[in-house]
């Protein structure tokens, strides 16, 4: 029951993040075109490359749960298809557990990296934007993706137990 509630909340967060990601992506394209147009009129947008880069960080980070829920990541299917259902289930449990551990590690380290940047007071070269904010945002996106993966894993384990 609790797992289902958490799953619903995560799905809601994921869809809001997806819309945010779409807007960032659209923003990247429009800002670049605006910069080129400005350049033709000798008034380019100062620091547009930096903004586009940070928008890309946000767009990709915000799409992490969406990409996971749509099983977008490529895997080698050929060998698993040759195995029995029992072995396939065990492999699924193994690879999903390993994936959650990997994502959790990246999340923690991303947040630690953000803290390091925060403490060092590092800012972007042209606009002086505090880079750590984007790193914290990316860390938060990874955290949501990790939680989504963990809930999926939990569902799988519970289903196995019930069957």
């Amino acid at each position: 029951m609790l797992v289902e509630i958490v799953e619903k909340i995560l799905a809601r967060i994921g869809s809001v993040m997806r819309i945010g990601g779409c807007l960032c992506l659209l923003g990247m394209a429009l800002l670049t075109v605006a910069d080129i147009t400005g350049r033709l009129n000798r008034s380019p947008i100062f620091g547009s490359e930096e903004i586009v880069t940070f928008l890309a960080v946000l767009a990709l980070g915000l799409s992490l749960p969406y990409a996971h829920s749509h099983r977008s990541h490529i895997g080698v299917e050929v060998f698993v298809q040759l195995m029995s259902t029992k072995v396939r289930r065990r492999l699924k449990l193994f690879r999903e557990t390993l994936s959650v551990i990997f994502f959790a590690t990246v999340t923690v380290m991303m947040l630690a990296y953000a803290r390091d940047k925060h403490l060092s007071g590092e800012v972007s070269m042209n606009l002086g934007l505090p880079e750590y904010l984007f790193l914290y945002a990316l860390g938060a996106c990874f955290a949501v993706a990790t939680l989504t993966m963990f809930v999926d894993l939990l569902q799988f384990v519970l289903q196995r137990r019930n069957s």
Partner: protein, 436 residues
């Protein structure tokens, strides 16, 4: 154990993990991180992991990828592919196998606005296969032409695979794009020959369809206008140095968006659909890049790429034979693995070897893209074959997987001839970039 020994152990574990169907990007990340930690320190590995991931996400060069994918998605949803097929159908439809030829030509043209091979195959499958079935084409020729033609999207600029190769090897993406143009046209010509020969040997495979007057054919050329405008803007911008690749991609995506809105073929729903699909694909690709970067750092610490390069360089066999072996490895790998993953995994190892042998990096990029293109249509993975099968099943066209796999053989032979041509006449690849 020596660093090289740990490296080979890491590679073996990576292959084992691939067999579990764990995402390739995650496997490369996990093995790279663990291996790097073993060879340096756990703290060093942890720091490398977060920094490498962030460096990929924050790379301005890589922002090209989502923007070019967006351009392709918008073009797909704006119905550009259907118009391209209609035009090519007017020109080729009346000859035997003409619809298949029209499909391949439309695939090349669509590849000029869409850098993804499966996307090109999926698009053309929905447009061309019902038409070919209507005129009594054999399943194997119809589906084979779409699956193989879709692969042309990988070499025709803008190509996502070439962008990745450019970023990994620090080569100019603009030059790589320009280098892909002639090979793409040559391969298209070879595919058309393959269809012509097939239909001469088996006239019932592709009966002639409608004949159009020259007046109607010329009128149908309006279907090419969108593609020509977008392709010209993007390529001319890159060729002349007006745009960076990211800017060219933004201009391309914006042009498709405007054209789609003006023609009333795009609405808010379709734009969001394109954006969502772009995000999904880009996330997958950039994760692959991040995984490859982490794995590459591990490999660098093991010194395997450099040792391999110097070992092969010291072998007393001709450079051409070494290249042939490398190409064969790419072909084999491409049969089991996605082309992008294969390139990201192997380029750090083979690139120094090829440079040691004195080959042109741009030429090598185009060659490996062509070779891995064969992988998208060969069993057992053959992603384009599964895409075409999925699309035709969804459309209730009932084409078996076996028919599609049998249908790609003439195109495989054509691709092998194409690769051989580029091998012995490298100027086909290097001529256009030399003008930049």
């Amino acid at each position: 154990m020596s660093p090289a020994g740990i490296g080979f152990l890491g590679i073996a574990i990576m292959l084992l993990l691939f067999a579990t169907r764990m995402p390739v990007a995650f496997v490369m990340g996990v093995v790279g991180f663990v291996g790097f930690s073993v060879l340096t320190s756990v703290q060093g590995g942890l720091n490398m992991l977060s920094r490498s991931m962030y460096e990929v996400f924050v790379s301005y060069d890589l922002t090209t990828i989502p923007l070019f994918i967006l351009m392709g998605q918008l073009a797909f949803n704006a119905g550009i592919s259907r118009r391209l097929f209609t035009t090519t159908y007017h020109f080729f439809g009346h000859i035997r196998g003409g619809l298949a030829m029209a499909t391949v030509s439309a695939c090349t043209a669509f590849g000029a606005v869409c850098g993804s091979s499966p996307a090109t195959a999926a698009t053309m499958a929905t447009v061309a296969i019902p038409e070919m079935k209507r005129f009594g084409y054999r399943d194997r020729l119809a589906a084979g032409a779409v699956a193989a033609g879709g692969g042309l999207g990988m070499i025709m600029p803008p190509s996502v695979v070439l962008i990745i190769y450019g970023v990994l090897t620090e080569q100019s993406i603009g030059r790589l794009f320009v280098a892909g143009i002639l090979p793409a046209f040559i391969l298209t010509g070879l595919f058309l020959c393959a269809i012509w020969i097939t239909c001469r040997r088996h006239p019932d495979f592709g009966p002639a369809a409608e004949h159009f007057s020259w007046h109607r054919r010329i009128k149908s050329l309006t279907g090419l206008i969108d593609t020509i405008i977008i392709f010209a803007v993007v390529l001319a911008g890159l060729f002349k140095g007006w745009f960076t690749p990211t800017e060219a991609a933004s201009v391309g995506a914006f042009s498709v968006l405007v054209l789609g809105l003006v023609r009333r073929q795009l609405n808010v729903r379709l734009i969001f659909k394109s954006l969502e699909e772009t995000l999904r694909t880009s996330c997958m690709i950039l994760f692959l890049v991040a995984g490859a970067v982490v794995f590459g750092k591990f490999l660098a610490v093991t010194r395997i790429p450099f040792t391999t390069a110097s070992y092969i360089g010291g072998l007393e066999i001709p450079a051409l034979a070494v290249m042939a072996i490398i190409v064969f490895i790419y072909f084999l790998g491409g049969c089991f693995m996605d082309s992008l993953a294969m390139i990201m995994l192997t380029v750090p190892v083979f690139y120094p070897v090829v440079m040691n042998l004195g080959y042109d990096p741009i030429w090598f990029g185009v060659i490996i893209v062509l070779v891995t293109e064969m992988g998208v249509i060969t069993p057992p993975v053959g992603i384009n074959v599964y895409v075409v099968y999925g699309v035709t099943t969804a459309m209730k066209q009932n084409i078996s997987l076996e028919s599609i796999f049998r249908g790609i053989y003439p195109f495989l032979v054509a691709t092998v001839i194409g690769i051989a041509l580029l091998f012995f006449i490298p100027q086909i690849v290097t001529f256009l970039p030399s003008l930049m």
